[in-house]
Each structure stands twice: as structure tokens, then as C-alpha cells.
Amino acid sequence: MTGRTVIIVGGGWAGCAAALSAAMAGAETRLFEKTDMLLGAGLVGGIMRNNGRYTAAEEALRMGGGGELFQATDEVARHVDVKFPGHSHASLYDVAKVEPLVREHLTDAGVDIQTMRRIVGLTMNEDSLSALVDEDGDVILGDVFVDATGTSGPMGACVRHGNGCVMCIQRCPAFGGRVSITGRSGVRELMATKGPDLPGAMSGSGKLNRESLSPGLIRTLDESGVAIVPLPEELTQLEKLASKPCQQYALPEYADNIVLLDTGHVKLMTSYFPLDQLRTIEGFENARFEDPYAGGKGNSIRFTAIAPRNHVLQVNGRPNLFCAGEKAGVYVGHTEAIVTGMLAGHNAARYLRNRELLEMSTDTAIGELLARGCEALLTPEGLAESQTLAGSVLFERLRKKNLYTTDSSVIDERIERTGLWRKFSRPL
């Protein structure tokens, strides 16, 4: 290789955004993904622009770089301006259409995408990484690296902290478990907690097969994108709220009802639901899970391997290693992954060019997310608090600082004022 390369490991939303951002900044960029598809959990996700995520998406679109990924999710939205308990103006992208579109964006930007290449090791030169090693033993040279490997799984973590492997979209048995670049480089990683007996957290939603639901439910979902079905008292699920990482959905409405969203699959807004119980409810008599396949038993475990890092997303003690997505904090959501990826990829390119690393202004919703996520890593209380633009503590903070808005002109002015207009789409 040329010796001026940004290597990104992990092809989820964060890795894709980092790749796009680094490539648009002018760096030769290679993206390594262990499975056969990009987007990771984004393949079964779909909720965008709800609450503060709307503001962040609009900010990112104005900044450029990986922000263009919001155009892709808008382009394949099945429903826009959706309201569901605690959330406004959401859009729901079609999980069946988004991956090829993102792949096209990355290819057009010149990113070298390597799927089915699982990185399992690395070599170091003092404190810096010098190369990665894939499962076949091939050595991949690079100058700067982005760890976007996420925090879900691998199987051992799901066994220890959850209900075992539930065959989620990560498909560890087929493609191998997640390997953390940060961890392999010798950095001690952090684990989010939900209390002394609850390390990590279980993914907060599963997906049902559309065709397995009643015509009435499908019609409601087609028309509005949302269906809310009250639960019989004996099936309410308050105790499950405690283990959810998605605190924006840890509301009583989600315990008292089944909340469904139409993302192509039918998103079931609870970590898991025993199938025999689910099938006792009208409309769900034939229900079956689409993701995870064993969604009646549990869900994937996340946040067991977060990188300690600074405000520019540089991993502590590793000057040429950046992190993004769940790796960079207790971040929940696709929007959060994309915006952290944007900065990580951009700063990786800056590191290559010996340019000062960019710290995002906290006069933006994205900057606030990044700053708060970094501070939270420093205390046990912070590690017990998930960071999302869509609800909970951070959304309240955005409101208090008047950073949450859907007004285009306000966002225009903010991005101009902070000097971030098209900042990520220009070559350095």
C-alpha cells in the first residue's frame, strides 16, 4: 500500500460514516467488515429523525462528509413525520433497501470496501498501530485506524451477560465474533452498566416477520407506520425496561403496550418477547421473529467494550487510533453512530496530514452528544447512562440549551456560526 491509508474496522453505520468522511477529506480509505453486508445493526434498525435526532441529522447534512448518509435513509424512508409514544417527527427507513444504497455512496467516494474480512489482530510500533491482521493471517498496513467494531456480542458476552446467542444480525457463529481493535492494542476498555448485577445491556428492540401478523395490524402499519396494541395485565413488562440500553424507549407506554413500527420488518419495541405469550395476543397468533431469530428468548448484549477516548475521538494512549459509534461511548442509535463516525473519519484524515484534530463545537446538538458522551465515560454514573439524542438525559439537555430545533434557518445559522458548513465534505 501507499503508506497514507486510513483503515476502518467495522462496517456498521459508524464505520460507513467514518469511511465516507475520511475519503471525502482526501485520504485513501479502506473499510473492513467481518460479515457479507454493511450497516451491522442498521440492517434491522430504521428509526431516524425522532426528537433530537432530527436536529443532528440536519446539522450533519450541512456539515457534509458522512452526513450524506442521512440523504440515503431519507431516500428509502417508508414513513416520515411519524409520532409514537414519547417521539415526534420520526422517519422509518426501509431496512431492505438501505444497504445497497449506502454501499453505492461509499464506492462512489472511492472507499475500498472489504467484506467478509474479519480483523483478529494487529501489530504495534511503540504506542501506535502499524498493521492489522485478518482471519487468514494477511497483514494490512495502515497509517491511521478507526475502531468502529461496535460493542455487541460476541457470543461469549451474550452467554455471560444475556440469555445466550440469539442469532442476531451480527451472525457470530457464521462470521466470527466481534474483535475490538482497541482491546487488542492493549487498552483496557470500559463496560456500561445497568446496576451492579447488570453489566452491558440488552438490545432494545426486535423485528417480527410482517407476513406472520394479522392483516389488520399490517394495514395499520402500512397506513401510519405505527401500531400500538395494549397488553393484557399479566404480560406487561416493566422489569424489562431496566435492561434496555434505549432509555428513550424505557417509558411505561412501552411496558403496557406492544409498540410496532414499520421498517420493512415490523420493529417490536421491546428487547424480547416469549413467543408463546406473544401468540396469545390478537393479531399475533402466527407471529415469528425476523431478528434476532431467537427473539422470543433474548437479544444481543451490547456495551461491554467501550474505548476510553478524548473529545476528538482519539483512543487514550493510542495516537493513531480513533473510535466511533458504540465504541466511543454509551451511544444508542443509528444517528449517534453516523455522527460519531463522521468526526472519527475526518480526524483520522487530519492525523494523516498532521493537521490539528477537530473538536466539535458544543453549540451544536452533535457537539453536545460527543462532549457529553466523553464526560460520561469518566464516572460509574456516566457509564450507567445511555447517550441518545432521542430522549432521556441528553435530549433534556439539548432542550435546556436550546439546541433542539426543527427550524432549518436556526440550524443554517448555527452551522455557519460554528464554522462547520461543508467542513467534512472538502478535501483537506
Binding site: V133, V139, P154, G156, R160, G176, G177
Partner: protein, 331 residues
């Protein structure tokens, strides 16, 4: 994308097999699973297609291979102490015994396991029920075997007979150079079958060893054109003398396979450049071949220890004290 270099990550040959999880998991020394070794997380998992921790925590029993009686069908001996023995083995072992690096543990009937010897399988009959072993009578163990020519006890199949075996299995459409001496040639048939299946061209330098028996030649007439009889690093009547380093430097084959003593491996390692892939016969002393006796222990460059009977490791992880210049590797 061109291969820049290669590093061989350590795995366990038995992950996901009928012998997994083994009692190394009980002992906190599982080769594959860092959690079972007492580490905090899964990060250093030597993934082999299954989660050993999952199997272990479900209470899957630790399995060890058991010795079974193996009646001997035929036996031929030479005056120089070379024995060719064909024994009955279970048909369901045959596919594994045809893999490069497969071997059996063999002992006299009724004896303690301390009398067991690892033996490469030279060939498996098409019926799948007869395995041929060629061995030289040397110490007390092989002498005991030579005295029991009606029935042996065998256990297996074992998979760790070659260091760096994944390099061999992955080699497609490439040239391979094989240096073999003595009974190291017993490993050749399975290796040559794999290379042939993968459309690799082969050059074989065969040193017949102490008694001058190139017994593999008769068994593999189709490879006669690729094979030259030589004497490595010494003079012997009827053979050309060539130096190991000379053979290696005169070949450009990217895959180099050494089948012989550790003495041969050390010379091969010293002559190889880092851009060539090396596979070598595993000569670790094995008694239990299950990981508990420790006779096969390999001490790696970083001081860590591995059980050579189970670990899938590269030759340079074993022969690192010579001139072999390995890279620093975090794994």
C-alpha cells in the same frame, strides 16, 4: 488485494470437535477461549466456528479420545528396524485420517498411556477401515510396539501433526517445495493429495534418512517426476549431496514444507525469508496428546506456553530462537 505479509493466529485444532470443550477448560487453560482462561472479555478469542464458553457453560462434558483395540492386518519389517503396519481403524475416522497432519496415538495392548506414541497415518485403504503406519524402531516405546504384532490400541484421529497446516490447506494454484527426511516422509501422501486437489505444483527433496529407505516413492508413483532423492547437508552413497539452504534459495516456491527432525526445521527456518510461508511437521513429544501431561509444551517468544498437541500454531512460533525474524504480534 495483494497479500502484504502473513501472520498465523493461534487456534485450537479441536475447537468445536467431539473433543471440545476439553478439560483444559476446567483447568482455565483453554487455547481458544480467553474467558475460560480467566480474562475479562472475549476479545482474544481464537474463533474456530463455535463459542467454547457457550458449550462449556451449557455443561457439555469434556471429552477425551479413548483407546480402542486395533487388530493388525499385516506387518512388514526391514533389517534396519523400519516397520510398515496396517491396522483396523473405524471407518468413521477415515475422512479425518486422510487430512494433512492427521495422526493416531498407538500403544501396546493393555499398557499404560505412557507407552503411547504419536504415529502419522501413511495411507487409509479405500474401504476406510484399514490404516497403514510406517515407523522406525528406536526407543523402548517403538520396541514394545514391534513386539506386539497382533493387536495394538489406538486413539484418534488427532489433527496437530503439522505446524502451520492452514497455510497448506489455503494454498491454491501455487508452487510448493517440500523437504523431507527419514520417517517424515510418512506425512507426504496426505499433503500431496491436498496440494494436488488445490492445483499446486510440487517439488520434493527427499533425504531417505538413516537406513536409506525412500518408501514413499513406491506409494506415490504419480509424483515420481517431482521427486529427487538427495542427502541433506551430508554425504551418502547413491544420493546427491545438497545443502538445505541451497535447495531453498534455488526455489522460488512461496510455500515451503519441512517434514523431518527439529534439526531440519531449524535449518529451514534459518534459510527462509519472511515472505515465504512455512509448514513443518510437529515433533513435540506427546504422551497423553490431550493437553494434560505437558510433554508437548511449546514456549513462545513472548514467554506464553501452549500445548503442542492441540494448538494450531505456526513453525515460527516453535522455532523462534534461530534466525527466523517474526513480527511483533499482539495475539
Amino acid at each position: 488485494m495483494p497479500r502484504e505479509k502473513e501472520i498465523y493466529d493461534t487456534r485450537c485444532h479441536d475447537t468445536g470437535s467431539e473433543s471440545c470443550p476439553c478439560f483444559l477448560a476446567d483447568a482455565g487453560q483453554c487455547i481458544a477461549c480467553p474467558v475460560l482462561r480467566g480474562e475479562q472479555d472475549c476479545d482474544a478469542c481464537a474463533w474456530g466456528g463455535v463459542c467454547v464458553y457457550d458449550s462449556y457453560s451449557r455443561g457439555d462434558q469434556a471429552h477425551t479420545r479413548r483407546y480402542i483395540r486395533a487388530p493388525i492386518k499385516s506387518e512388514k519389517s526391514t533389517a534396519a528396524g523400519l516397520h510398515c503396519v496396517t491396522v483396523h481403524t473405524p471407518r468413521h475416522w477415515s475422512a479425518e485420517l486422510r487430512q494433512p497432519g492427521s495422526f493416531l496415538m498407538v500403544k501396546p495392548p493393555g499398557s499404560e498411556e505412557t507407552w503411547a506414541c504419536p504415529m502419522a497415518v501413511f495411507s487409509v485403504a479405500s474401504s476406510g477401515e484399514l490404516s497403514t503406519i510406517v515407523y522406525r524402531e528406536r526407543g523402548p516405546k517403538t520396541q514394545q510396539l514391534a513386539r506386539h504384532l497382533k493387536t495394538w490400541e489406538v486413539a484418534g484421529p488427532y489433527r496437530s501433526g503439522l505446524l502451520g497446516v492452514r497455510r497448506l490447506n489455503r494454498a491454491v494454484d501455487c508452487d510448493a517445495l517440500i523437504l523431507t527426511s527419514g520417517t517424515g516422509q510418512s506425512l507426504l501422501p496426505n499433503i500431496l493429495r491436498r496440494l494436488n486437489d488445490n492445483n499446486c505444483s510440487v517439488q520434493i527433496a527427499l533425504d531417505p534418512g538413516m537406513d536409506g529407505a525412500a518408501y514413499v516413492v513406491q506409494a506415490l508413483p504419480e509424483f515420481a517426476g517431482s521427486l529427487s532423492l538427495i542427502r541433506l547437508d551430508a554425504e551418502i552413497a547413491g544420493c546427491r549431496h545438497q545443502s538445505t539452504a541451497g535447495i531453498i534459495s534455488s526455489s522460488s516456491a512461496p510455500l515451503v514444507i519441512s517434514l523431518g527432525s527439529d534439526h531440519l526445521h531449524i535449518k529451514v527456518g534459518a534459510a527462509l525469508q519472511r515472505d515465504r510461508l512455512w509448514v513443518a511437521s510437529n515433533n513435540r513429544i506427546m504422551v497423553c496428546a490431550a493437553g494434560w501431561c505437558g510433554a508437548c509444551t511449546v514456549i513462545r517468544r513472548d514467554g506464553s506456553e501452549l500445548r503442542g498437541c492441540r494448538a494450531d500454531i505456526a513453525p515460527e512460533d516453535v522455532f523462534w530462537s534461530g534466525d527466523w525474524k517474526g513480527e511483533r504480534d499482539s495475539r
